[in-house]
């Protein structure tokens, strides 16, 4: 039952391991990667900080490292954060740190995996995410996975002298089940 829950077509999801801190710290030196990911100030991490992040455990967080199936490379991270167990709602975040793997379906594959994990293993009712309007590649990827645009916050962040909207997307359990069967 659900043997292949964490393995997709291009990637698999593996445990976060403090031994991979150097790779994660290297991703953090890429400011574009930061900006595509969130609105925290882009700030490079030391290997020690990355290790602490990889060690941090929380029973509401389900975080994984993304590894390619073809060449066994660690290319990014993905995780669900349970916003409310009572309502079955979680937020998802994803980042592909290795630029060579941008725009080739790796992130989409990882997102499909974690949706399967969220709906069939954690029994969630809904998965939400936020994304910036300057990241159309991510938005397309999320739409491929079944996410629907639900709303936006206008001028939510400032990048290079311009205000940008943040866009909220979500997928409901019933929608996901319809797609998968």
């Amino acid at each position: 039952m659900n043997e292949g829950l964490l393995a997709g077509k291009l990637v698999c999801l593996i445990a976060r391991d403090p031994a991979d801190a150097e790779i994660v710290a290297r991703w953090s030196r890429d400011t574009e990667y930061h900006r595509l990911g969130d609105n925290d100030v882009a700030y490079p991490q030391t290997v020690k900080q990355a290790r602490e992040w990889l060690e941090r455990d929380n029973d509401r967080g389900f975080g994984f490292i993304i590894r390619t199936l073809s060449d066994d490379r660690l290319i990014g991270g993905i995780g669900l954060w349970i916003e409310s167990w009572a309502h079955g709602e979680a937020w998802v975040g994803i980042g592909i740190g290795e630029r060579d793997y941008w725009g080739n379906g790796y992130g989409t594959d990882a997102m499909r995996l974690i949706l399967g994990y969220g709906f069939t293993e954690l029994n969630l009712q809904r998965v939400s995410l936020g994304v910036y309007a300057y990241n159309p590649r991510a938005i397309r990827s999320y739409e491929k996975c079944g996410f629907v645009r639900e709303g936006l916050m206008r001028g939510d962040c400032q990048r290079d002298g311009r205000r940008w909207d943040s866009i909220f997307m979500g997928i409901l359990r019933e929608e996901w089940l319809l797609r998968e069967t």
Partner: protein, 193 residues
């Protein structure tokens, strides 16, 4: 629209006050008859300080345990506690425990009322799917009360307990969400128009 999830017919459920309520709970824990109905382990009364720390820890952490105190409606007396323990959010399942520490309030429906309020909280607010408990076969009053609240007998482990030279069973009971909804005709409080 006016309703209160935490109020029943005889009792209300309230937050435990670590400072004030720990003393009362420590007094109940001295009563070994009460403790034998509550727990199968060796009776060891807890110090108020330890109880206070346990309440504070429970209230500061992510909710795997939700413990509330039971207060009588007529005189607002602290008479017991009720708790969801080991909530398994993934599967929507939890254990429930209850104790009426004040002996004056046993056998008069206070515990049953508190359990009914707790079940409503579990199913209507936490959206749980199943609530289970275990009881000891010598505690017939409790078992009767659980049946009244909607629990169903699921099974027993024979002769698990030795009390006063006699062996007694562990009794497992549970109530499923659908059973509870069918029994309770819960009002819908929200509508879109």
């Amino acid at each position: 629209m006016s309703y209160d999830l935490f109020t029943g017919n005889l009792v209300r459920l309230a937050a435990l006050n670590a400072e004030l309520d720990a003393e009362a709970i420590a007094r109940w824990d001295v009563d070994s008859e009460y403790m034998r109905q509550l727990d199968s382990g060796p009776h060891l009364p807890n110090r108020a300080k330890k109880i206070r720390e346990a309440i504070e820890k429970m209230q500061s952490e992510d909710p795997k345990t939700i413990e509330l105190c039971v207060r009588s409606l007529v005189d607002d007396r602290l008479i017991g506690f009720v708790a969801f323990d080991e909530i398994n959010w993934q599967h929507g399942d939890t254990f429930v425990a209850i104790g009426i520490g004040d002996s004056d309030y046993r056998g008069n429906g206070y515990g049953t009322d508190a359990m009914r309020v707790m079940l409503r909280f579990g199913f209507m607010e936490l959206n749980l799917k199943r609530i289970q408990l275990d009881a000891f076969s010598y505690n017939e009053r409790a078992i009767k009360s659980y049946l009244k609240a909607g629990f169903v007998m699921e099974g027993r482990q024979r002769g698990m307990l030795l009390r006063n030279g006699q062996r007694w069973d562990f009794v497992y009971m549970s109530v499923l969400r659908d059973e509870w909804l069918a029994l309770n005709n819960e009002q819908r409080h929200w509508s879109e128009s």
